[in-house]
Symmetry: C2
Subunit: 758 residues, 2 copies
């Protein structure tokens, strides 16, 4: 801490020096605004006059910044070479006019930065000329000719893209503001920016007046141009929504989401609602990554121009917390866990995360861990925050970004369940007990996925969509996203009577959420999270406790999975494990099918082929598999009445949209109250070069449920070395200071807190 304080002091002195000289410089060079306030001097929004000064002074000596600048310069120079193209809007996404206007917004924003940083009028003139071309075009434009959107734009087929445009172009305008004459500015503001902002807000309230990622873009667009133009009315509209406007609470948008269920609107409401106090975004990391840019870029503008708003402290600093949450929602390779509709492979190398990391570092507490991520990203923003990161890296301040176990609450009040991530060594377990997750949510209460060193061991299927691959349904969501990916059977959680949670009804699922029982990350060797779900199947209570335990008797930590079911009637239960790879061995006999038939007819079951069936053993059923040259074993406590089904995805898939991935499904028939208890081990390795297999066998000799009532579930785990450990979880009185005494088979166990393990 002392070291940081010292550094902070130096930084402060440097900053003041820069500020002072900057002020002097600007007095000489740029015109003063009415209030003489430094925060009103252009550029002021994202890149600031102060930042420009600091960057120019260091150019050529800040490697990662210099490289980023060089790349951007090459891109923009090549665009300038090609000349200005502002076509009359005509196409959907992917079409010529769409792609051109989209490229223009990026180029304008970058050219603005280059003008400021390189002090080269070429760039300012390019921005000015293109803006004037837009001014000439925009005032002639009716609604976009394509009619598919619930809120049509003018440059693009949907307001969302118009808003994207304005978020970027506001920054370009800010950068050349002082380069333009008063007259030029008035022309642009009167004919382009104000009507543009009005179209996506007051003229399109169904788009603007919501809590939704679309509206966030709308709010940011209106607010940012408002900040540049110093227009308090627009800023106000951005922050609080359109005044005195009320919309029908029951209408839905194209995706099936409610248009405005609770009447809330504006940027602050958009921060308020989807983020939990821990920074978890209710749609999950894939959509958080998409939504992040307008949140952070407008917040940065507000911070710079309206510091009195203390936007980064809003809701106890939730915006910066959300970046930390998002980074923690990635695996060892930086790829986001594909919760809800999430495309696999999306990672913190995405451009939105460059913004997130730079902004978080600069406007947050200069976490040296963020520098290591920035270094991996190998680029920075060309603004104040990018400079700060580049300097931090140059000075060698980075430290590894340490991801540890974390519990992220869901819901604006943090009381709508959450997501727990357990981490030990190279293993990561993601346990989801959140709310529905808006229209992109899946029916996957108490589901989990499991990773080893960034590789999927037990997968979450993700979405059924080939984003931007036109050959697959135009790159849109495919019908199997609904019939398969969202259904409960597509997840590693419990299915009752082959029906999905909430019968896969969004209106019902949206009303409920799971509830945390407890989480405990101390001592480090025993990471536990436990949560209950009471509404997915009315009359049935599910309580799942998952632990990642490091035990010296095993080579790697193992997963203990306890799924306790309390029901008012006898039902059939399926518990799938979507493993990857090759089956090595089982301790039970199975019989493969010569002909493969779908496992069911609906609720996702129609997409699974049944490959083999087995009767479970009366003690433990063991299943070993082999993937990516590593070994895994599932040991599960079963009775001979249980079945084991080997299934494979891909039935009723007329367009081959699904991957042919396998699953092992544990089936328990005609059961009222029951408890599924399993251990998942990652063990050993294989080298195809030396052809040696190490530790290829399970180290678990026996797994036994030794006690189970409404208050406690106790499991005995015996390793092949002969040691037995007892894990007792508190099912309903799990506070840290609760005192427990329990007698099992004549032995008594006493402990304080949510669980016992010894």
């Amino acid at each position: 801490m002392t070291r940081y304080s010292a550094r902070l002091k130096i930084l402060l002195i440097m900053t003041l020096t820069v500020l002072f000289s900057c002020k002097q410089e600007s007095t000489a060079k740029t015109e003063y605004h009415a209030d003489g306030d430094l925060s009103q001097e252009h550029p002021k929004l994202i890149l600031t006059a102060k930042g420009v000064k600091a960057i120019r002074a260091r150019l050529g000596s800040i490697p990662i910044f210099d490289r980023s600048l060089e790349k951007v310069k090459a891109e923009v120079d090549s665009e300038i070479e090609k000349g200005i193209d502002v076509p009359i809007p005509k196409d959907y996404s992917g079409g010529y006019t769409h792609v051109t206007h989209k490229r223009n917004w990026f180029t304008l924003q970058k050219a603005g930065l280059l003008y400021q940083i390189l002090d080269d009028e070429k760039y300012a003139k390019y921005v000015k000329d293109m803006l004037m071309a837009y001014e000439a075009l925009y005032k002639t434009l009716p609604l976009h000719p394509k009619t598919r959107s619930y809120a049509r734009g003018k440059l693009f087929w949907q307001c969302l893209n118009d808003a994207n445009w304005l978020v970027y172009v506001s920054q370009a305008y800010d950068c050349i503001y002082d380069y333009l004459t008063q007259e030029e500015r008035e022309k642009l503001e009167t004919n382009l920016f104000r009507p543009f902002a009005d179209h996506i807000s007051v003229d399109s309230p169904q788009f603007y007046q919501r809590v939704h990622n679309h509206s966030t873009w709308g709010n940011a667009a209106v607010g940012m141009i408002g900040l540049v133009m110093n227009d308090e009315a627009l800023i106000d509209r951005a922050l609080y929504g359109i005044k005195d406007l009320e919309l029908d609470a029951n209408k839905k948008d194209d995706d099936g989401g409610f248009l405005n269920a609770n009447g809330k609107a504006g940027f602050l409401a958009n921060i308020e609602e989807p983020f939990s106090p821990d920074g978890y975004y209710n749609e999950g990391p894939y959509y958080q990554r998409y939504a992040m840019y307008p949140f952070l870029i407008f917040a940065t503008g507000l911070h710079n121009v309206k510091p009195e708003l203390k936007i980064f402290e809003y809701k106890e600093g939730v915006l910066l917390k959300s970046i930390n949450a998002l980074l923690n929602l990635s695996d060892a390779e930086g790829e986001f866990f594909p919760l809800n509709d999430g495309q696999k492979g999306m990672s913190y190398y995405n451009g939105a995360l460059v913004t997130a990391v730079d902004v978080s570092f600069h406007y947050g507490d200069q976490d040296p861990g963020l520098l290591s991520i920035a270094k991996q990203q190998d680029r920075v923003l060309l603004d104040d925050s990018g400079l700060a990161v580049a300097l931090g890296i140059k000075e060698g301040n980075e430290k590894p970004f340490a991801k540890t176990s974390i519990n992220l609450s869901d819901g604006s009040d943090g009381k709508q369940g959450g997501v727990g991530i357990l981490r030990q060594d190279d293993l990561e377990l993601v346990f989801k007990y959140a709310s529905q997750g808006s229209s992109h949510g899946h029916y996957d209460k108490l589901s989990f996925s499991f990773y080893e060193n960034g590789e999927e061991v037990i997968q979450d299927y993700g979405l059924v969509r080939y984003v931007n691959i036109e050959q697959k349904g135009g790159g849109n969501y495919l019908k199997e996203n609904t019939t398969w990916a969202k259904q409960t059977i597509a997840h590693n959680t419990l299915i009752q009577n082959e029906r999905s949670h909430f019968n896969a009804k969004y209106d019902i699922g949206s009303q409920f959420h799971s509830d945390l029982n407890y989480f405990s990350f101390d001592p480090k060797d025993i990471q536990v999270v436990s949560a209950a779900e009471s509404n997915a199947y009315p009359g049935t209570e599910m309580l799942r406790t998952m632990a990642l335990i490091k035990d010296e008797a095993l080579e790697k930590p193992y997963v203990l999975d306890i799924m306790k079911v309390t029901s008012d009637k006898a039902d059939q239960y399926d518990l799938p494990y979507y493993y990857f790879g090759q089956i090595l061995q089982t301790n039970f006999e199975y019989k493969t099918k010569e002909v493969l038939k779908p496992l069911g007819t609906k609720n996702g079951y129609q997409h699974l082929y049944l490959e083999a069936t087995a009767k479970a053993r009366d003690d433990n059923s063991k299943f070993s598999w082999f993937n990516n040259n590593k070994f895994y074993t599932l040991t599960t406590s079963t009775s001979h009445k249980d079945e084991l089904l080997f299934a494979r995805i891909g039935a009723n898939d007329p367009d081959f949209n699904l991957r042919r991935d396998p699953a092992l499904i544990l089936r328990r028939n005609d059961t009222k109250n029951t408890c599924f208890v399993s251990v998942i081990e990652a063990h050993g390795r294989y080298s195809p070069v030396s052809e040696s297999a190490e530790n290829s066998k399970s180290s678990i000799a026996e797994l036994q449920v030794i006690f189970d009532n409404e208050a406690y579930t106790a499991v005995a785990i015996t390793t092949i070395s002969g040691t037995t450990k007892i894990f007792i979880t508190s099912n309903n009185n799990a506070s840290v200071d609760a005192i427990h005494d329990l007698s099992i088979n004549g032995s008594s166990y006493s402990w304080t807190g949510p669980y016992y393990f010894k």
Copy 2:
């Protein structure tokens, strides 16, 4: 060239200097042998007295050698710490006594090297003590108690492992030869080494007297101990086999190979037979890698002790050529193409390839490309060759090992077909038109596989075996290796009437081979190989011409695949393409099956599920897929009578031994003479981070067979940019100087050589 000559001179001068000083030193230190010949001074076999001197002088200044030495020292020190363990033989592979004796042979060999290099008696004493323990044990041993082998050893259950032991232990004995007294040597030689050599040779002729990789180990073992002991009788037996011994030519070994079909035996015959003049090993690269060590290590010993034999020049230098061939039989990541029974993932990082690369560099022509592979391997042998490599790397002499297109003939005379590898940019096509490949061969005449940057695009399935993974059939070949992997339908080649080539009969297949039509690698942009097969289906002639063509109209080179069939009757033909990944698009309509049934009942067809069927189009049928974030398209010339079958491996697989990989099968019914013509394109890329798809569509507009008779097949390839190119292949007069004139649809084409392309 000049530069090399200069370097060679310097090397020569250095070597002479070392030689001279070495000689002086040794006069003072070691006893002289009767003939006073330097090549008889110990160590002389692999590490030489001269090498020891050179190594000692440079220790600490040759990084890769020093690191390798440090690792070996740590291993051996830890073994010395544990003490000597020479148990009474009892177990099969994997069992305690087997594993212990195996570890001992490695440790002895390494300890011998350490004694010489570090001049530390501790290691000599350890070797001596252990050898004495073996002497005490061996003279008491009957045959190994396990009876499974056709040739039982004494230390191990099979002679092969006894031979392994002696190959390594000869080296250890050589290293401590001068450390021992005359008496000690006599004791070891009389009670251990001579009876040991006799047991694996004269006492086990069914093992020793063959052309087979087992015998190669046997010959090397006998020869190496003979070289150390200066025993001309043993050396003779090693080189030429057991004198005046004849074996039954019809007997078979455990693997179904003939014991001694042609009466040949001995090390020289073992070089003569399996290697083609180009250095291709008839079992393919996976088994070549296994067989390589005894070939090279005994050859090195012969080179050092009997330089007059000029062993590295034997059969026009085939041993060193074979190393070059083997390295060229690997993909961009150094993994060997899994021809015949080959386990995927085996690569030039295997220890046998460290020997191969070091020996080839030192005893060959110091190819700087080998240094770059040695650098990737990151270890060298602790001997003369390893020193040479370490010095080469230290001096920065390495250059990339450039793999280009290569045609490797098969057969001891180079006239039994071959393997052609076409390379352009990141693409590699492997075309197999070889002989049966001994008992590990597959029935896959004219099959191919296709790689992009080391990733499989069109795969060769490889073997069905989980080597050394005990849970899968003890790590042995699984029955699906015969019922699936060896069958023709498991390969990317033509199947007639759902029967495998030669009816999958080894005795028949072994009699035949395919024949080269031509190969042409100049100009570089058009790489072509063409071969015929007349015996796989009696009465049917198959001629496949495969080209990898770089055309400026396409982003990447493309594959042109022409399979011409001439038959004396109407038959059904299947031509499978074992692609990987997700189906994106077809230009024909297909219908998926709700229930999956096996495609057939035998010859491998019983292992394929039929997933979908389609009628082909009357012009071109197109099939696009997506794998590893890259796009691929197959365009094939079809008629509406053709069928397209979508299949997946995995039917009738009761133990889940097979991978669930997909295939597209082109089926042509009731056809006599016909021609299958296809283009395979690799194109574009996808980023899941930026979610952008580039060049995701085929660039081929049309593919047309415009002429086909017994002399010529001509194909017109039209790209979407509108240009048409004509490829004409000569089917029966393909010599480089043949002059051709052909008129097609009124246009005349004239060319010299095997093909026309314009």
